[in-house]
Structures are given as C-alpha cells and as structure tokens.
C-alpha cells in the first residue's frame, strides 16, 4: 500500500518536472501558453508547440533509450564499463552521415543522410552477426573487441574527413563528435518517438531473458531458450535502436554508462526489467534536465549537451558512490 502511494507520488512528480522543464530555456515563456489555444500565431504558442514540446519529446526518447541501452549492454556483456557505443554501430552511423554531408552534399537529417547512416550501421551489424554465427567470434569478449576495432577504424576515418572538411568549410560536422540535439518539428519528433518507444518496450519485455543469460549459457538453455539466438536478437534490436538515436543526435556520452550504475547504487534492482524500466525513466528525466540547463545557462548560447550531462551527473554519481 505504502509502496503504491510512493510510486504514484513519484510518477506525478516526474510528470510535473517534465512540464516545468517546458518553461526553462533561452526565452521566457508564460505559463498561459499551456491553455491559450486561441492565438496560434502568438510567440508563446510557437515557442511551446514548435520548439519546446518537440524538443522535450526528442530528448526524452534519446535519454531514456541511451540509459536503457547502457543497462542492457552491461548485463549482456557481463561488463560494468559497457556503454551503448561499445559495438561500433554508432560510429558507423556517424561516419555514414558525415560522408553524406561532406562528400555527397546531403545535409544531416535528410532522408538520404539517414539512409547512408543506416546502411553503414546495417553493414556493421551484419558482419557482427555473421561472425557470431559462423563462430569466428566465439564469446562476448570477442564481440567487445570487435566493436573496439570497428570504433577505431571508423572514428579515425571520421577524424580525417572532418579535419579535411573543416578547413574548407565551417565546423558544422564537429557536433557529431560530441553529440548534439537538433531542433525538429512536432511531426518529426513524433516519428522519432514512435520508432524509439516500441523498440524500448520490446527490449524491456526481453529483460527477463537478460536475467536468464546472466546465469550462464547452460542455465539459460535449461530455462527454455537458446542463448545464442537470444543474444543475436538482442544485438540486432539494440543496434537498431542505437542507429535511430545516433542518426539524430550523434554520440551523447555519460548517460548510458552512469545512469544504470546510479540506479544500482540507489536501489537494488530485483530484475533486469526493473533496472531497464527505471533506467529509461531516469535517463529520460536526466537528459531533459541537462538539455534545459544547457539552453538556459547562457542564452542564446547552447552548451554541448554531453558536457552538461557530465557536469551535472558526475558529482551526483560520486555522491551516491560515497554514500553507499
């Protein structure tokens, strides 16, 4: 009973904070904008519905999914240092998009650039899965090493491209290195979130099999599922999710690595589902907070979001670590 009360109170607080964050940013937004539908051409209306709400939806999805991916990889690879960018999928996406931006002249966030990024990601995933199935990669440590190799190759290619490109043309592509959240309109944000949420939900459902996998392959097998097939499926699913996210925002660090650990320190999650679900919520809230801060600190400047997450989360994490 007490538990139910607590969780509904926390849920309400969660929504309240999210709504509050809509009013936080470079420009002042009056609270009346929330119920003032009469004047669709007012600045407030525009600010709220074309900028703040799409942005919040986007950031919510990105933060939640990144934290969830980090938690998944930490369990899947039995590695506390695992983070979403482990497998090289994100650097493949970034390279694809930057190639299309610099060499082919397709701007980021256009369908062609997405297609290019997706193609690169898909090729990495395919190679990974084929190697895993043909037993070239025998265990999970090898997969991590494979990801490291891919990361090295692709990020050096990225550096070469960017340094060559930046001398002749502004520095726009640099944001792919640190992560950056673009301004999308409401429709685009809705498309994004409707891609991300089902993938996250599937991942959450499969959290139970993550528990099974964490007991070792023999145990997983006698618990009624094939560990190698489940792992393959999880790798494909997480890679798809990561592809969607990185093609929008680049690689935002810190969240995927630290949010799951902070949750482990804060509560002892009874199951992977619990950890994944809570990671999504906390990750989403945390990135929304960081994003609002990054815009509100020195308007109209926008701090790189990766720096704000680290500045905000680092001390918080150290505090949790020290307290336990």
């Amino acid at each position: 009973m007490k538990n139910k009360f607590l969780s509904s109170a926390l849920g309400l607080g969660f929504i309240f904070v999210l709504v509050l964050l809509l009013f936080c940013g470079g420009e002042r937004l009056s609270i009346r904008a929330l119920w003032n539908f009469n004047d669709p051409y007012s600045i407030d209306h525009h600010l709220l519905w074309s900028l703040r709400i799409p942005r919040l939806i986007l950031v919510f999805g990105i933060g939640g999914a990144l934290a969830m991916l980090g938690a998944t990889y930490q369990i899947l690879f039995h590695n506390p240092l695992a983070e979403p960018y482990l497998l090289g999928v994100s650097s493949a996406v970034t390279l694809g998009i930057v190639i299309s931006e610099t060499l082919l002249g397709w701007a980021a966030l256009t369908p062609q650039a997405f297609g290019m990024g997706f193609l690169f990601a898909l090729s990495v995933i395919t190679i990974l899965i084929l190697c895993y199935y043909w037993k070239t990669i025998k265990n999970m440590e090898r997969i991590v090493l494979f990801g490291m190799g891919v990361n090295f190759v692709f990020s050096s290619a990225l550096f070469i491209l960017l340094s060559y490109h930046n001398q002749s043309n502004g520095g726009g592509s640099l944001r792919w290195l640190f992560g950056n959240i673009p301004w999308l309109n409401l429709n685009q944000s809705m498309v994004f979130i409707s891609l991300v949420l089902p993938l996250c939900f599937t991942l959450w459902i499969l959290g139970r099999y993550l528990d099974g996998l964490s007991l070792g392959d023999s145990m997983a097998r006698t618990l009624g599922f094939s560990p190698s097939r489940m792992r393959t499926f999880l790798l494909v699913l997480t890679s798809l999710l990561l592809t969607v996210i990185t093609s929008i925002s680049g690689a935002i660090g810190f969240i995927g690595l630290v949010v799951p650990h902070a949750i482990r320190l804060w509560v002892q999650p009874p199951s992977s589902r619990y950890l994944l679900g809570l990671s999504f919520l906390i990750g989403a809230l945390f990135l929304c907070l960081s994003d609002s801060l990054s815009r509100a600190l020195l308007p109209p400047l926008e701090f790189p979001i990766g720096i704000v997450t680290t500045l905000l989360g680092g001390p918080l994490f150290l505090y949790l670590l020290w307290k336990k």
């Binding site: 459902i205 139970r208 964490s214 145990m219 599922f225 199951s271």
Partner: protein, 249 residues
Amino acid sequence: MEKINTNYFLEAEGLILGYHKAAPISQQPIYFKIPFQSVTALVGLNGSGKTTLIKSLIGESVLIDGSLKCFSHSIQSLSERDLSGLIAFVPQEPVYPSNLKVKHFLELAFLPQSHLFGKLPSIESTDCSILLNSLNLIHLLNKTLNAISSGERQRIFLAFAMLRKAPLIVLDEPTNHLDIQASRGFWKSLMHAKSTRPMEILISTHDLNFVEKECDWVLALKNGNLFFSGPKSVFFSEKWDEKMISTEG
C-alpha cells in the same frame, strides 16, 4: 515427439563425444542405459568427458555421432523449451549477477512457464516456501548472492533446480569448490530434496564416498570412452574404482 515406454530414463546409442568432428574425445561409440528411479553418479578423472557428456545432454554441445535419449526423447530433436520441461541443471561454477537477492534469483526458476508480459510469481507467496524451509534456506532469501557462503550458494542453486519441477536434475560437480563440511551439507540437502518427490538425478562428482553411500547407478568414463555402467554394488565390489584411477588401459 512420440512417447515410448521403457524402463530407462537415459539411453545412449553409439554416442561419440567431442566439440569438433575432427577431434572427437571418444574413440569408441558409447552405449548405456540407466534405469528409472535412480541416483546416477557420473565419475571419471578430469578430462574424461564428464562435462562434455552433460553439455551434450543439455544440448549445449552437439553430438558428433550417435543418439542420446532422455525419457525416450532424442535430445537432438528437442527444442530448448521442451528441454526445459525435462531437465533442471546445477552448474559447476555458478554464474550470477553479484548483487541479486536470493529470492529474486529463485523467482527466475519460473521463467519457462511464465507469460512473457506477466510477472514472475513471488517466492514468498508460492508453496516453494515449504521446500526452502525444509532445505533450511529461508533465512537467506533477503541476502544477495555474493553475501552468502559458497556452500549456501550451491544449495540455493539446488533449490532453484528443485523449483523447476523437472523430472531430471543434472548436477555438474556441485561440490567441487566446497570444503568437507559444506559438501556434506550439500549432499544432505540433495538427498532430502530427492525424498520430497520422485525424480531422476544425474550427478558428476569426484566424491566416491558419496557415490558409495547414496548412489544407485554408476556411469564411469575414462579418456572419453565408457568405462563402466552398472549398479553401484558391482562398481565397488569388482573394484572398478581402482581400475578407473590406474593409468594403464
């Protein structure tokens, strides 16, 4: 899956053990039949193929040749889901998330039967508390798996296997890392667990004392080949245990 009634729960016909076709562990095909209602000991020196046989049984390593039948079902034709209904497993070196609580770990035993969208049944609310009480484990439920002793942990894994309610429990050298006292405790729990319901137990072990005291059937491997399969009394009266250890032939 057709069900044929035989008197044996485990049958091997022309079995060749190994991980690669090019380098099989067994030189001769293995044939054995193990009757129902028995505690079977799988014995043999290190590297004799005990773990490989167990891995073949749970489908983790493929059979190079021959067939292995568990309750008259050919292992090769069983899906993981079918397998989970037949076999519960206690590993030699348990892998586990270190800060998982014992009760949440035990709930995972219901994973095969549970609905994908539903919750796992809670340990406290189900009748498993009777089992846990009889195994003297109830006081450990709220501890984490890394905060209990190896002996306790191994008994928790036994309880996990019991909760699976499978007709066969396979244990791979469960007392390998335990001291004498913890081993005794484990064997006692195992025999107690067996008395609660009819089931088959296949256990690989080096503890010949336990084999002599509690087992009914002995399956001995040597260098990947079958060395002995028969009742315990024959194994010890004909001194097969000494022949198994000796280096020649």
